[in-house]
Structure formats: C-alpha cells, structure tokens
C-alpha cells in the first residue's frame, strides 16, 4: 500500500464516517453497548478470580504439638520447607483463652485449672494448592502430634473455586465470541446499506482492495471509537464504584479485596480494543467482499 493510496483510503474512510452520520452513530452505539455488556462480565470475572484467589490464600494448616515438644526447633525445621508464607505459634495458654472466649467461662470452671489443649502452629503457604504436600511433610516430624487443615473442606473449597473460575472463564469466552459476531453483523448491516456504491466503484474500474481498504479503515475507526467509549465508561464507572465499595466489601466479606481499577483497566484495554478494532476491520473487510462481485 503506497503512502498516496493510504491518504486516499483515509480520506474515503472519513467521508464514509461523516456522510453517513446517522448510520455511524447507530453502529457505534451498537458497538459500545456490546463492549459494555462484555466489559461488565469481564469486571465480574476479574473479581471472581481475585476473590477466589484470596479466599484460597486464607486456608490454614494447623500443626498440634505434643506437650513435651521443642517448639523453637520445630519452627526452624518447618520454616526450612519450601513455600511457607507465615507461621504463628499458639501456646497452650493461648489455646485455652481462645476456647473460653468461644464457649464461655463454664467450661474453664469445669476444667478446674487443668489445661487439656495442645499448643499449635498456624501456617499459611504461598501456594494454597500445595497445602496437602506441606502437611504430609510436617506430619512425621518429631514432636508433632497431628496436622489438620480441614482436608475435606479445603479440597471442596478448591474444587468449588476451580469450577467457579472455569465457569466464569467459559462465560467470558462465550460472550466474547458473541460480541464478536454481534459487532461483525452490525458492520455487515452498515456495509449492506451501501452495497450499491460498492458496485458503482467496481464499474468505474476500482480494484477490490481499493474499495475494501476505506471500509476496513472505517471499521477500525468505528471499532476504536466504540472500544474507547466503552473503556472510558467501564473504567471510570468501576473506579467510582471501587472507591465507594471496596472498603465496605473488605470489612464485610471475609477480608477479601476487590480487583483494583488498575488491573481491571489493563484487562479491559486489551480485550476491548482488540475486539473493537479487530472485528471492525475484519467485519468490514469480509462484508464488503459479498458485494464486490460485479
């Protein structure tokens, strides 16, 4: 494509956009709305990803110690294992205090000063999925009475979050494909409205690509315009909501944080612009083809 032609194509594309003002508005609107719908899903999806990840992070491994164990030495041993993120020691006294808090003074009275509860380590690992392996490595250590991480509950939680993530990704994929076809079909309609003109250009001796390029550029432009609009609405909308809601959410829901606007912005940017401009260009290029055969 020579520079001169490129200038011509841009000029033609600009004419197409401006002189079909009404149609341009309608098709950009469709594009914006489609990308907004998709974007809303993407935001929800990103938050599902983030929240499930954070919930998983909160999974804990509890190591109960024998009364006579050397907890200093054991701590060192455990910290040498790979992937340990945090380790807290809970003494027998602390354990009793906690039980009293939970069950009331009656129990403590009934125990009459004895303390049957073991001391323990509370451990968090870097990759929650490896918690089972870490537990297996700790169990045989000397001074360890038992290891507990709610195997069944944790496995279920992992299974559940896995399914939730898969589902969420699946929905996004399906929606992205839908958005793709939606935009392509809209572009089709705008090309359809100008099918006669495409024929006339052919009759004046224009080659297929000479006709196609302006439509492709127009498609890219409409796509970018649609993507930009959708991006701005979604990004600033999310930003606003995040500022309002994230603190409340953190307090009220298991200390989980929402996806940050920065992350959401980055992901939306990639997806919306790729979809908008890509489908705009492809949709135009392919739709024009149908009317080139004269």
């Amino acid at each position: 494509m020579k520079l001169k032609n490129f200038v011509h194509y841009c000029k033609e594309a600009a004419q197409g956009v401006l002189r079909n003002g009404w149609m341009t508005v309608a098709s950009v609107t469709v594009m914006v709305l489609t990308l907004l719908m998709l974007g809303i899903f993407v935001i929800i999806n990103l938050n599902v990803m983030q929240i499930t990840e954070e919930i998983k992070e909160q999974v804990e491994l509890i190591v109960y110690l024998e009364d006579e164990a050397d907890h200093q030495y054991l701590r060192q041993q455990i910290l040498e294992l790979p992937g340990i993120a945090r380790l807290t020691y809970v003494s027998k006294e602390e354990a009793l205090r906690r039980m009293q808090e939970e069950l009331g003074e009656d129990i403590a009275d009934a125990l009459e000063g004895r303390n049957p509860l073991p001391a323990s380590f509370e451990i968090q690992v870097h990759d929650p999925e490896t918690i089972g392996e870490v537990a297996d490595a700790i169990e045989p250590m000397a001074g360890v009475e038992s290891v507990d991480y709610g195997k069944k509950v944790v496995e279920r939680l992992f299974e559940f979050t896995r399914i939730l993530r898969l589902f969420s990704m699946g929905v996004i994929a399906v929606l992205a494909v839908m958005a793709l076809f939606l935009i392509a079909n809209t572009i089709k309609l705008t090309v359809f409205a100008r099918r006669r003109q495409i024929g006339i250009m052919k009759f004046v001796g224009a080659t297929d690509w000479f006709i196609r390029w302006p439509f492709i550029l127009e498609g890219i432009f409409l796509g970018l315009l649609g993507a930009l609009t959708a991006y701005l609405v979604l990004f600033y909308g999310y930003w606003y909501l995040y500022a309002k809601a994230s603190a409340w959410f953190y307090q009220n829901f298991l200390s989980v944080k929402l996806a940050t606007p920065a992350l959401v912005g980055r992901e939306l940017l990639k997806l919306l612009f790729a979809l908008g401009a890509g489908i705009g260009a492809l949709g135009s290029g392919i739709s024009v083809r149908r009317f080139l055969d004269v």
Binding site: Q197, G205, T207
Partner: protein
C-alpha cells in the same frame, strides 16, 4: 477494438436478451446503437464492460477476450472504457467533483492532475459552479452530464454511452454530441446507444440496429430508421 462473434445472452431469470449478435467496431469509429425499448442495447454495452458475460459466442474488447478474462483483470479493462450508464450510477455520498475525481483516483493519478482535470471536464459539460453538489442536488440532466464527465476524464481509448442525452434538451444534447465527435477525432472509439432520432440522423454515422435481441441492420452512414 470491439468484436462480437455470434454472441447470445440470456439473463439469469431466463429472459433471452441477445441472439447470435455479430459485429465489429474498429479503432476510431463512431457508432450508434439503436432499437426499440428492450431490444438489447444496454445488454450489448454491459457485455462490453463486462457487467455480464456472454452465454455463447465471443466478445473481444481492447484485445481482450472477455469470456476468458480473469476476475482480477476486470478493473483494468474498465479503466480503459469510459461508460455513461443509463441509470447514471453516480456515488450518492460524493459530490459531482468527487464522483469525477474517483475515476482518476482509481488509476492513481496524481492529485495535481486530479485538481486540474476535474474542473476542466465539468466545465466542458456545462456544470461549472456545481462541482460541490451531491447527485441528489442536481437536476436529471445535470446528473447525466456528471456521468459524462466521469466517463471522459481519464481519456479512455473507448467510450461507451447508454442513452447519454435521455435527460437533456436538444441544445445541450447537440453540444454533448459535438464534444463526443471532437473526442472521436482525437482517436477515441465511441459507441452510443440512443433513441434520439434527430441526433442519429444529423450525425450520419454508422448505425447498428437491434430488434428483439437480433442485429437487424449495420449501416455505415446510416439514419435512425431504415427508411429515412
């Protein structure tokens, strides 16, 4: 320049438009194509600029066999044929000047060339001052003259006009005809499908007459009707 050899054509819906038409037009000729409405004049022209392809027989135009022309070559054929379409076929979203310029843009003429040529031809057909009007802002005859300007602008070796004066008054028609004759004298082959009896008679050029898809007359120095 143009050879039809036993050409027959039927439209996809089955309407037979041309039967076994044969004729030959040399470089530099000036030919009228006449015949009643629906005789097949436009079909002959459509075969020449390859809107349609003959069902049987051979169509040779500008040293090309159109029955064997590859799809890719069609635009290059059309660039060498200036066509005034019966239904004008102006681009509705482009002004008169832009419509004419488009014919130069497709052959990648320089923009200085475009700037010079477009006002010149629009002036020749009498549309000075109406360059920036859109087709729907022009009268029927003005649109027809824009189509004429577009056909002329890149000096094609072959000029094909379908009813080019159907919407023009006798004076303007005659001016256009004189213009076509001048162009013809500069070497351009001209083929005109027309109903304008007076013009055909006055010009006294070669006349091909179609009737019901059959070539019934080929008169050098002919008139609109056989008897005349």
């Amino acid at each position: 320049m143009i050879s039809f050899i036993n050409v027959s054509y039927a439209y996809p819906n089955g309407t037979s438009a041309l039967h076994n038409v044969s004729f030959h037009i040399d470089k530099g000729e000036f030919v009228f194509l006449v015949g009643p409405s629906g005789a097949g004049k436009s079909s002959v022209l459509k075969l020449i600029f390859r809107e349609i392809v003959a069902n049987s027989g051979q169509v040779l135009v500008l040293q090309r066999n159109l029955c064997r022309l590859r799809r890719k070559e069609i635009p290059y054929l059309r660039r060498q044929i200036g066509v005034v379409y019966q239904d004008f076929r102006l681009l509705p979203e482009k002004t008169a000047a832009e419509n004419v310029a488009f014919a130069l843009e497709v052959i990648e003429a320089s923009s200085s060339e475009i700037k010079r040529q477009v006002p010149r031809v629009l002036g020749i057909v009498g549309l000075k001052g109406k360059e920036d009007r859109f087709p729907h802002q022009l009268s029927g005859g003005e649109q027809q003259r824009v189509a004429m300007a577009r056909a002329l602008v890149n000096n094609p070796p072959l000029l094909v006009c379908d009813e080019p004066t159907g919407n023009l008054d006798p004076n303007t028609s005659w001016q256009i005809m004189c213009l076509l004759e001048r162009i013809n004298q500069l070497g351009t082959t001209v083929l005109i499908a027309t109903h304008d009896k007076e013009i055909v008679n006055r010009m006294g050029r070669r006349v091909l007459e179609l009737n019901n898809g059959v070539l019934v007359r080929d008169d050098h120095k002919g008139a609109y009707t056989h008897e005349a």
